[in-house]
Symmetry: C2
Subunit: 187 residues, 2 copies
DNA sequence: GATTCCCTATCTACTGATAGGTAGATATAT
DNA sequence: ATATATCTACCTATCAGTAGATAGGGAATC
């Protein structure tokens, strides 16, 4: 029997979906209550019922994104390190290629100096938990300085998303990250 | 005898300086004519005299940033590849550590889907010229698939800036990019 | 030498649009 | 009756952008 902390209403989910897409296209200042409301066919005042302030909405956005991300990753010891790293890369690739969107936390990470504190803290937590997950994988693989490797992996993936989108060349993401799993396990 | 295309007035330079800092902190929507004007002690209407629209200001921002960046890089064959790559990394490091700012084009690259076309085009041109510069270095070093290596270098540096800022841990940038010059020249 | 004209650069005052946010009425369903 | 969810109507602040007045400095003309 599942017992979610708070069950989100359909409307709340719609709001999050639309806001997430807008945020992942243009950043924290690129989604507005009015735009979201217009797209899902309600009034902007109604959004405040579900998310009292924009800060709250931003927090909920990062929270859901982080949970989904970690869910998709699964346990860091589910399989061999090389396979776990391939899975890690494929999640970024899917976001870029299939959704045609930037990573939400990559976007917010770039803007972090101007985000409301609760949002920036959750963004930091996203990266912290990703680093920990990767650390576990690299430790299992017996590499030196796992934290360094973990940072390299995240940096290359976030940077590759930006570069591929800026160059409007999604193949570039594949070229830049294709060998990442094997390379990052080299001693 | 130097003959600059257009000499920028002191005020125009001040506007660009303030706008660049704001943009590199929070993105394209994080600088406003009013904020810039307030900081340099003029009225926002006066900014329109120097830069008619925000789009024009954004373009000028990326243009100046790109020119300065390429100037700092110098010719790609100035020295040995390993030295040129070290120089490349050090320019990013200086921006992050000394200025405490994100790369302007890394920021705009993330937001590229929502930028005015002239700004996004110039942002793309920044990366194109950076890739070309790195290609030249890697070709001189005789590595295979220079474009792939160039993409990896840019991706790792832009991503490392985001990660270090998000984690509020500037040493992380150093750890993630410290070996980059030597590593990227390995066959 | 004084006057006229023009260019640069700024100002005041304004516009219409949009931002996030609030109060309170209303409808629906349990 | 109460809780949920939405609405209308409004607020203040800010956004980019415009029109037109003003001031100062040359340079050319008288």
């Amino acid at each position: 029997m599942k017992k979610p902390d708070k069950a989100l209403s359909d409307t709340a989910i719609q709001i999050l979906d639309v806001a997430e897409r807008m945020a992942r296209q243009g950043g924290y200042n690129a989604f507005s209550f009015r735009d979201i409301a217009r797209e899902i066919g309600i009034k902007s005042a109604s959004i405040h019922y579900h998310f009292p302030t924009k800060e709250d909405l931003g927090e909920a956005l990062v929270e859901r994104y982080t949970n989904r991300f970690l869910d998709a990753l699964g346990a860091a010891d589910d399989a061999e390190p090389i396979e776990m790293l391939s899975r890690y890369v494929s999640i970024y690739r899917a976001a870029l290629i299939e959704q045609q969107l930037m990573c939400l936390c990559g976007m917010f990470g770039a803007e972090i100096a101007k985000l409301p504190a609760p949002v920036s803290e959750r963004t930091r937590a996203f990266f912290e938990r990703n680093l920990e997950w990767l650390d576990t994988v690299f430790k299992a693989a017996g590499v030196q300085d796992p934290r360094k490797r973990s940072g390299e992996v995240i940096a290359r993936l976030e940077g590759a998303m930006i570069l591929a989108r800026a160059m409007n060349d999604m193949d570039l993401f594949q070229r830049v990250t294709g060998d990442l799993p094997a390379e990052s396990l080299r001693s």
